[in-house]
């Protein structure tokens, strides 16, 4: 039973209800791919994780070393000394509570008046083994005869008034007291405050006896309540300060820098023959944009993109045209440069003499220098740590950069101009550097700063082979402005 049918009909009828279940393995493949994609996104990060980790370690190391040397811990100390001096007529009981922010120099101004009274105390020397390591400022805190609160203006008012009340008595006491009978101290670390005023929290309290004065007990309790009040104010300030700073964490920083390129060691990257030649760097330009994110008040993570141009000269070479020219160790010559023979120094007898044919036409070697130019796209990952945060700020910068080679040329400079001879063949396309620097900034407006950052970048694997003993670095003084948002 057959009938004539249009070919389309044959297929249309056959495929009308066509449905076929694919093998079960397909779902597994699909779900793997969906899942794998997510994984791959994560996998793209490890390099940056590693670099970030390296940066963090470096920054922490430098910070810890520095803080070790300067002994300026960013904590406030509360020193509680209790002194009971034997006195013919009565026993004195003195104690002072002084939480000190040892890092803040500005405090010295606010507390200068107290320092004057203290200097008198200093002469008596009975306090000198208390806080010697803290230097001048510690002496202020040891003024055991007064209550000083200088965390802010209000506080300092209270302080000065208290001070006036007590200073005269203080002198009396100091003359009378000759020994400590008891001394104890403790320190309480407090979260450091970002605001300039708030950074200087100083409360120095001393209770002194007033020679047979029966009111001494009540006076001391009054002062203790004053301390408590001052502490409350300080805490409230901290909270305000924290909430103020937490809003603007991002920073954009366009920068440009003169860059100096150099090498540690006496090798030469172009040819080992030149390892003892004198070298020089042209001052070149780096520019780019950096972005920073403040992890907390002190630490900032930064990254960005920079174009870095480097230029390096090897002096005291000479060159002449030669049929038997031997190319330099690590240079791939361009065609035009195949027949240029380059010598270390200026040879007395040109090499070309070896070829009898051209003997009569030997050309005197021309003195010159080899110039190597390099260009990198630099992606830094750095941590910066605030050492001083004022109108003028100081930061410590540590981290690493990934460098992508985007320019590579070698030429000869002579009195006749520049001849391109080729490019270095021992440069890695991707290399890394470790960066250490100091960041200075000047606050023009609230969210607008001028920056100056001398940064030293030591290249780790710039050359793939034959670097001789040449270990390159570059140093740039990056300047620009930054904007917080």
């Amino acid at each position: 039973m057959s009938s004539k049918k249009h070919i389309d009909r044959v297929f249309q009828e056959a495929f009308k209800e066509f449905e076929e279940t694919p093998p079960a393995s397909n779902w597994n493949a699909i779900s793997n791919r969906l899942h794998h994609k997510k994984k791959r996104r994560v996998l793209a990060l490890p390099l940056w994780y590693k670099l970030g980790g390296a940066a963090a370690v470096l920054a922490l190391l430098t910070w810890s070393v520095l803080s070790y040397f300067y002994q300026e811990s960013p904590t406030n100390q509360i020193v509680d000394e209790k002194k009971v001096t034997p006195f013919p007529s009565n026993k004195e009981e003195i104690f002072s509570v002084s939480p000190k922010d040892s890092e803040t120099e500005a405090t010295s101004k606010e507390a200068s008046s107290s320092a004057i009274t203290t200097s008198a105390v200093e002469k008596d020397k009975f306090l000198n083994d208390n806080n010697t390591s803290l230097g001048k400022k510690s002496i202020i805190s040891s003024s055991y005869t007064k209550v000083t609160k200088a965390s802010q203006k209000e506080a300092s008012n209270v302080a000065s008034s208290t001070q006036e009340n007590t200073s005269s008595q203080a002198i009396d006491t100091q003359q009378n007291s000759q020994k400590y009978t008891r001394e104890n101290s403790f320190s309480v670390p407090l979260e450091k405050n970002e605001q300039e005023q708030a950074t200087s929290i100083r409360i120095a309290q001393a209770e002194m006896n007033t020679k047979k004065d029966e009111n001494s007990n009540t006076a001391s309790s009054e002062k203790i309540s004053l301390i408590e009040e001052a502490q409350k104010i300080a805490e409230a300030e901290e909270i305000v300060a924290l909430s103020n700073t937490s809003t603007k964490r991002w920073e954009v920083k366009p920068m440009a820098a003169p860059v100096f390129y150099g090498g540690v060691g006496d090798g030469n990257a172009i040819d080992t023959r030149f390892s003892d030649n004198s070298t020089s760097s042209d001052i070149t330009l780096a520019y780019g944009v950096n972005i920073g994110y403040a992890i907390n008040d002190k630490l900032q993570v930064r990254t960005g993109v920079n174009q870095v141009s480097l230029s390096y000269n090897t002096q005291d070479i000479s060159f002449n045209p030669s049929v038997g020219a031997v190319s330099l160790d690590n240079v791939t010559n361009v065609n035009a440069a195949r027949n240029i023979e380059i010598h270390d120094g200026i040879p007395s007898t040109p090499n070309a003499m070896a070829f009898g044919e051209i003997q009569n036409r030997v050309i005197e070697p021309i003195p010159g220098s080899i110039n190597q130019t390099l260009g990198y796209i630099e992606v830094p990952v750095e941590l910066s740590y605030k050492l001083i945060d004022r109108k003028v700020g100081v930061n410590l910068i540590g981290g690493g950069s990934t460098l992508f080679l985007n320019d590579n040329a070698i030429g000869i400079d002579s009195e006749f101009g520049r001849t391109t001879i080729g490019e270095a063949n021992n440069l890695n396309e991707v290399s890394f550097s470790t960066n250490v620097g100091l960041g200075l900034d000047y606050e023009l407006m609230k969210n607008f700063k001028l920056n100056l950052e001398p940064v030293f970048k030591y290249q780790i694997n710039a050359y793939s082979e034959n670097p001789g003993n040449f270990r390159p670095y570059f140093f740039g003084v990056y300047s620009g402005f930054s904007f917080k948002f």
Binding site: M1, S2, S3, K4, K5, H6, I7, D8, V10, F11, Q12, A14, F15, F18, E19, E20, T21, P22, P23, N26, W27, A29, I30, S31, R33, L34
Partner: protein, 182 residues
Amino acid sequence: MSLKQLIKACEKKDVKAQEQLYHLYAGKLFSVCLKYSSNYQEAQDNLQDAFIKVFNKVEQFKHKGSFEGWIKRIAINTCLQRYRNQTLFELVNEEAIAEVQEVEIGEDELDLSDLLSLIQELPDRYRMVFNLYVLDGYSHKEIADMLTITVGTSKSNLSRARLILKENIVLLQKKSEAKSIS
């Protein structure tokens, strides 16, 4: 769970929902892929690619028109993309073949798998045009846009596809006749 809820769950990359959606439409999409691909293996590859696209773009479905239509189009496009870039070195003249292609065919003479392999054996472009026009109801204008060819080329490709199919059907018939005689 309604289809709408299922789609919403897929938007949130819910793995369970994705699996459910897959099982709901795998059969339909695989049939599309089988028609548009040149063999079973490629059909599976295309099916996987199509579902990956569906899951990645499911939030773009605006709930206007049928979801089945939407994912079918994705499957078709996936297949087209695979073969679109393959240049066809045809040494055929592009003039349309006017004659009507009819075949004498007995009921149940050819089963579905035979017909499917006939389609799959067609040159890529012919297969695309034949599928799009005959089985999925696209116009020559639409096909021309989809394959970036002219309407004339589309028509000519269709005629040649029909011709090849007809010849092959006749060939198959002869083979089976020979079989039955022997």
